[in-house]
Amino acid sequence: MHVVIIGNGIAGTTAARHIRKLSDCRITMISDESWQPFSRTALMYIFMGKLKLESTYLYEDWFWEKNRIDRVQARVREVNPAAKNITLGDGSVLSWDKLILATGSRPVKIGVPGENLPGVQHLYHLSDLDVLNRLSRGVECAVVVGGGLTGVELAEMLVSRGIRVTFMVREKGLMARQLTPEESNMAGRIIREHGVDLRFGMQIREIRGNGRVESVVTNDGLEIPCGLVGITTGVAPETGFLYGTGIETDSGLLVDEYLRTSVKDIYAAGDCAELRTPAPARRAVEPLWYTARAMGETVARNVCGNPEPYCQGIWYNSARFFETEYQIYGQVPATTPSGITSLYWEDSSGKKSVRINYDTATGAVTGFQTMGIRYRQQVCEHWIATGTHISGVLKNLSMANFDPEFYRRFEAAIRACRLS
């Protein structure tokens, strides 16, 4: 059997690794981006000089050789399900018995005039870093459009080069649709403290320039001069080259619970996949490192004939707003639904917080969200999965703390919040 994997991101490499654990089949992994699978999440650290590109490689070279995973660096131009083969950029043809599409995302355009001017830049692929490196030289001011986590990272990257950044967010607060107001405010404060000019409720109408970006115009007609515009308004599944293959798509490649697409022997995993039936309170496309990795593992089992449904599990995520870490386990929606009580504690420094959501009627905890404090995933998930009562959780809260030794502990203060 020959399994071909298109994409060597975390979904593709995880799939390859786990297929090798289960089977002796031939594995070929193709990507146009990089011969060495690397960590996309580390792009910012490479840009800021904290890491060399080689330090972000997922595995050492011997790993791929030892596990007999063939790597091909090429663009896949065409997929032909009937003949069970693919055509590469140079016209060569490769046949497969099972095909895994792990093509990830592509950054989306915002559709304003001037968007194609040199100096307007996305942050997704490795090649974007080279361009950003070149563009940021000699630039004094930049505008970042789009208030997601990638936007925050791009702002931090540019600030680290001494560039003054205007960070434009369409919503009324930072990540207002994902974050509860207190945490959103805290994140906004922290970003501002680092010198970023954070603007809410602001949209971009036009990008102006003569051969290169010179300014942006906002929806209120305000013109902001800048030498660089970073667009981080979001990503969409990378599926363009699959038109006409008969693979059913919506926004992504539609897959069933076994991560099978509508075409036999073709599977999809990672950012490019869209679940036909997502779990309650979960999205059909979740473009995240963690989900891509989990899907890679599941798709490997299914390809190797050990059918296993993809389980979205208990939601978790983590991120960073400059030096302040953020973690979430379970459900903590931006607006607390009725029937749920939200216990919130914030440190007087305004840089640490803990939020615990629980069912008002039964007391069962449903979610944890922390800023500037690390919590233990296994413990939080266990409490959520077993519906542990909030009193029990508060009593044993120190078990959840994952901060380094000698850090100040706040369990008593958090408990006191419930009483008040």
Binding site: L51, E323, D403, P404
Partner: protein, 313 residues
């Protein structure tokens, strides 16, 4: 120039050893303060650095000087066999107990108790970090002066293999040498004859000055800050075995939160590929880990925590 200080501390003029000790300590203190500033938000790093600075200043500089002033042997309370391998050599033991009566007996006793009881016990409880990154003077220099070079340590599997061969060979040589010298002295020198002196002299030169001295610091900019601790220190080797097999100490990985960014491996001075464990959700239990805690400090997702034991649900 340093004479007044030397006379004040040791009751005798400065010599090359005083100059060496003075510069060493001054460097540790100066670079230690820089290190504390760099990691100012991290309480573990603050305490650990205060501790190595304290032990360097007091136990490796002031107390040995003061003992000289008191006409006692120059003794380093924070070094034990096998790092200070000669402390348990028959010559040294004889010289201590012969020339310094009660103090000498105490020093030999201290050395033996530390080597065979305290070190194993503390290492079982806390991991070797209690010594390597909280007490040891070589560690003090590596953690402070060596900090800018920590990312230079080789993370490859090949380097790990070399490390295991080298460090365990050094340990074996010291254990054998110590045994040999004891047997030799019991047999009144009939085994080694006049070679025994040459034997231990050669060894001290090779290990003592070459390795911990020249390679230890001179090679920071080439192999990273902990070359000596990683490839050559017999004390680290012993504690490493205890840590790997029996200790409660581990670096815990926080579930599936790792994003494989590579910061932890990059800044590991011992050349441990921390990421390779973290990205698979595995805890890190490695003989070489000195528990400096930098992986935990630089991880952008709060994935790593140094722990004595595990949390059970």
């Amino acid at each position: 120039m340093l004479d007044p200080l030397s006379i004040f501390l040791r009751g005798r003029p400065a010599d090359q050893w005083f100059l060496y000790g003075f510069s060493y300590t001054a460097l540790v203190l100066a670079m230690g303060i820089r290190f504390m500033y760099k990691y100012r938000g991290n309480a573990y790093q603050q305490w650990r650095t205060v501790s190595v600075m304290f032990f360097q200043l007091v136990f490796s500089f002031l107390i040995p000087a003061w003992m000289m002033m008191m006409n006692q042997p120059e003794f380093y309370f924070s070094y034990f066999w096998p790092l200070k391998y000669e402390y348990l050599f028959p010559d040294t033991v004889g010289w201590f107990t012969g020339n310094y009566a009660r103090t000498g007996v105490f020093l030999v006793f201290w050395g033996a108790v530390m080597s065979f009881i305290a070190v194993p016990l503390l290492t079982w409880y806390f991991g070797k970090r209690w010594y390597c990154s909280w007490v040891c003077g070589c560690g003090a220099l590596a953690e402070t002066v060596g900090d800018p070079y920590r990312s230079l340590s080789d993370k490859s599997l090949g380097a790990w293999k070399v490390e295991r061969w080298m460090i365990h060979s050094v340990l074996l040589i010291i254990v054998l040498l110590t045994l040999l010298l004891w047997i030799n002295s019991r047999e009144q020198g009939t085994i080694l004859g006049s070679y025994s002196l040459i034997f231990s002299k050669t060894y001290s030169f090779l290990i003592g000055s070459m390795f911990s001295g020249v390679i230890g610091t001179g090679f920071y900019p080439i192999f990273g800050s902990r070359v000596w601790c990683r490839f050559g220190c017999p004390q680290a080797a012993i504690m490493g075995i205890i840590q790997r097999r029996w200790s409660r100490f581990r670096i815990t990985t926080n579930g599936g939160q790792c994003i494989s960014c590579g910061n932890c491996s990059e800044y590991c001075e011992m050349g441990i590929d921390v990421k390779s464990y973290a990205q698979r959700g595995e805890d890190i239990v490695r003989a070489s880990c000195v528990g400096c805690g930098i992986c935990s400090a630089v991880c952008p997702r709060g994935v790593l925590k140094l722990e004595n034991g595990t949390v059970s649900l």
